[in-house]
Symmetry: C5
Subunit: 254 residues, 5 copies
């Protein structure tokens, strides 16, 4: 999983809980009815916002993106240059053996297409289609997180209004006013945490990870294209380097 | 109707009502005057926002879009390829019999034009005009929902201010202050629900459904164009596939 | 006048007044000092926002746009095709007699230029200049309404702060606190109504009417251009139809 | 100075002061500590927002733009056409005498360059550089006013929070609570006025004046270019007219 | 360090502290728990927002940008023209001696590449890569400051809600309500200061400094390119001048 997300969520929730425990008990801040209206209510509204298929896929998108390994754009540059050398010396079929070590499914898939003798143009079209579909899924995921980040404080406000109206209608016992209002504020509290600590930051993280996964896949695509065309390994290196930030560039030839 | 909208609205309202009933009665949250000023008032302001014809068409747009069937972009690809084969073997008039099963009015309309021998260019122009008009209607619908989503909380605030001013002018009976303030808050409560649970999410859903209906119609348009020109069925398949996401692509030929 | 604006403003204000009268009297919500600071103050700030000439022209722009007749883009298509026929059979001067019935000043002005034998290019340049100037005026009007919609709630807040500070400095008589606070809230109430019921919706309406008036004038411009060039009436019809939504298209030839 | 700004600021502040005096005294709304934190504090934060040189130049930019004369884009068209005639009949040096009456520094500067025989291209490059620098200065000025308009309410909130915390820590004397809270609200009051009556509207005014000064200078630039090239005066007129709104166009030839 | 940032932050905090001390003691506004939840909590959420590597680099970016010297775009123009003369008279290797005085690492790096006889195209590619990477780092820094500016008030609100809920649950001792509420407000106070005095203004400052550092480096890049190509010194001067604002242009030749 994304280590920064764990650190960030862990510390933020840790601080909030510590801050509560210094002045009272965590139990004072737990109210199942309030949790239901904010958390479940926010996800319910997600289904009004988005088509069924999209809303149902949110969990999977988050899992796949936030829990996946970090993508290092330069990870495969050296391997691709080597594959390029191999193709030049021993032919494309030599990759069948060498490609067995490739773990990344996108890379392996592209390699298989090249080994099968698929035309370069068609390989590019298919891999580009997959990258587009992936970016589309990530964009939908980020849009859904952003929508949740808008709805959560609204459900918090709605919950607090319910609590306030109930409290104001029953003010005969003055000693109950304080605790009733405290409970009414809990939904606003939950909504603020969900939006500002969880949903909005995660939408931003998802966008950043999507950009780096796309760059990573696009580099693989360019590499497979070069390998499939039988490009000179020096050209492969130079094409891949042009996509990398200066500090990440690889220099395998003198 | 859009099943996700039903699920979402049903669960959200269910949660809100359940949350109310755990602490009091639903009757405490019903106030006809407050409903009037927020709900009717919001729709009244819609007529200041938009021209008469647009404002009056909102209901129809919502019905047509949200209650229609879901559009699956790949629904007709196979049928179109088959129609293409038929035209190549038996001529365009053979579609008259085969086209009888087509239920989709946009598809049937395009097919009729092709059978009537209308020039391909003119068919395309007419179908494109219809798609543009549809997108325009959807855009207006989404804009109106977004406007309602802005006005509803404002009418809620106006209602609450009315309630507060009335309450503050009559504070001789302290026991009436609580209930009066509770009622004053109801318009804010209605406005928050209408905007955040109903109007804003539905504007977003309308945009998503409009995009998928447009894609669906555009695929039909491309298919009709190919059929009318007597394109090779393999080319029809490949042209339609290029519009579909990778997972939806159809492969009818080896 | 724009009928939807009348309906909308009428119903919204009717609902607000009815809502007030169910709980008290309209007099409780009228305070001349509050009206002055919000209404007059908002218009005063408009002069800081915009150059003198623009700010002074707001009233005229609103009158001209909102009280004018509704523009139907297809209104003149048939007449223009007929004028085109006339020019082809009897020459451009025949329009002098036929053009007498034309009431629309923009249409008549263009027609006069054509009859006077002004070069087509120059007619187009002059009419386009007028359309641009009109769009510019409308844009300024909508920008000013949007600025008023931002300033009104701010002046409402400023008025309420004045009321609160005055009230808090004189709390010796507890029974005066409620009414004083009620009055303080009135400016917020006025600001919310002005912005959300009047200014913001009217800015949107002005933009919609500007778009339809521009389309209407642009259709006249295209028609005059065709007539002046002596185009074939069928071509006139087809050029004008291409600017109209499908449902509005005219079919005068078989 | 810009007359509309004087009228607007004068009326708005007059209304606010009148509104205060109807319910109390202006002295109740003056608190030197609150003025310091909001006014001085807002300008202090401007130095965190912008580089030193920009922040220090704000006063000069405002003076130069808001207190300058109004620019009428058509002011010099006739004079330029006459200069063009002069150059055609008596040569460029004849402008030395005729140009003595020109007061506008940008116009005179361009004229001097033309008289000195500077190449047309170089004149255009230099004058365009000056216009760009001017637009850049105006943009920075408007950006700074917009930043002040964001910071002022924030400093108002910070001041009010200071006042509230101080008040809440010393609630032993109930009679002091009201006045203490009144003073706490003053910073919010100042912030709201500064942002909504002064800074935000003036940013908008600065943008409008910058646009009209740019148009004015650009017209001078085009005129100088034509004069320097020895263009036909009719062409000078027609080129300048094409930059003017229809109502401002000049017609010196029949 | 950026002198304007020091002046601005110093005066703003000075005013806030002075304002506090006039009404109470600074100690009343210090609460370690509140500092923790707002300051540490805000930085914790930064890790949910951004990838680990970016979040960890924020300090370094701020140091490098805000504490660096100010970049004057015209600083090196004269020196570059002189280097250009030297290359024309004594050859590129003469720069080895003359370049020893160059302190700026970007300038020296480019000079070294030119002296080493690297091809001009490759020098440009490498220096452009470095400028792009720098702009990217600055953009990330500004984005992170803007995110902190959004999160800080949210953490302030969360802290205040915790304080309010705790206070409302323990209202048995009325005399503790005031101080408890005062402490609850402190997190909102901290959040407002962090966002409006520190984070948002610094994001804007970072963007301005990034723009001027980029311009400065781009001028060096253009100069090195010209020197490496052995351009005429007059051409070097004119190319560099075209990048400078008029007032900064250098005129070394008559």
């Amino acid at each position: 999983m994304d280590i920064a997300t764990i650190i960030g969520l862990g510390s933020a929730f840790g601080l909030i809980i510590a801050s509560i425990m210094l002045g009272g008990s965590v139990g004072m801040f737990l109210d199942i009815k309030s949790v239901l209206i904010v958390v479940v209510g926010t996800f319910a509204v997600l289904f009004v916002f988005f088509p069924l298929k999209d809303a149902l896929s949110l969990g999977k998108i988050l899992m796949k993106t936030l829990f996946n390994k970090n993508y290092e754009p330069d990870e495969f540059v050296e391997q691709m240059v080597n594959f390029g050398k191999l193709v030049r010396t021993e032919g494309i079929l030599a990759l069948e053996e060498a490609g067995k070590d490739v773990k990344d499914p996108f890379f392996r898939n592209g390699l298989m297409l090249a080994i099968d003798g698929t035309e370069t143009e068609q390989i590019v079209a298919q891999l580009e289609g997959e990258i587009d579909a992936l970016e589309d899924r990530h964009k939908k995921g980020a849009d859904m997180l952003a929508a949740l980040g808008m709805v959560a404080p609204a459900m918090g406000l709605i919950g607090t209004l319910i609590g306030l109206v109930l409290m104001l209608q029953n003010m005969s016992d003055p000693s109950s006013i304080g605790p009733a209002m405290a409970v009414a504020l809990l939904t606003t509290f939950y909504g603020a945490i969900l939006a500002n600590v969880v949903f909005n930051p995660m939408a931003s993280k998802l966008r950043a990870r999507s950009a780096s996964e796309s760059l990573y896949n696009r580099i693989i695509l360019i590499g497979i294209q070069s390998i499939s065309k039988g490009d000179n390994p020096r050209i492969i290196e130079s094409r891949l380097n042009s996509l990398l930030p200066p500090a990440k560039r690889v220099k395998l030839f003198d």
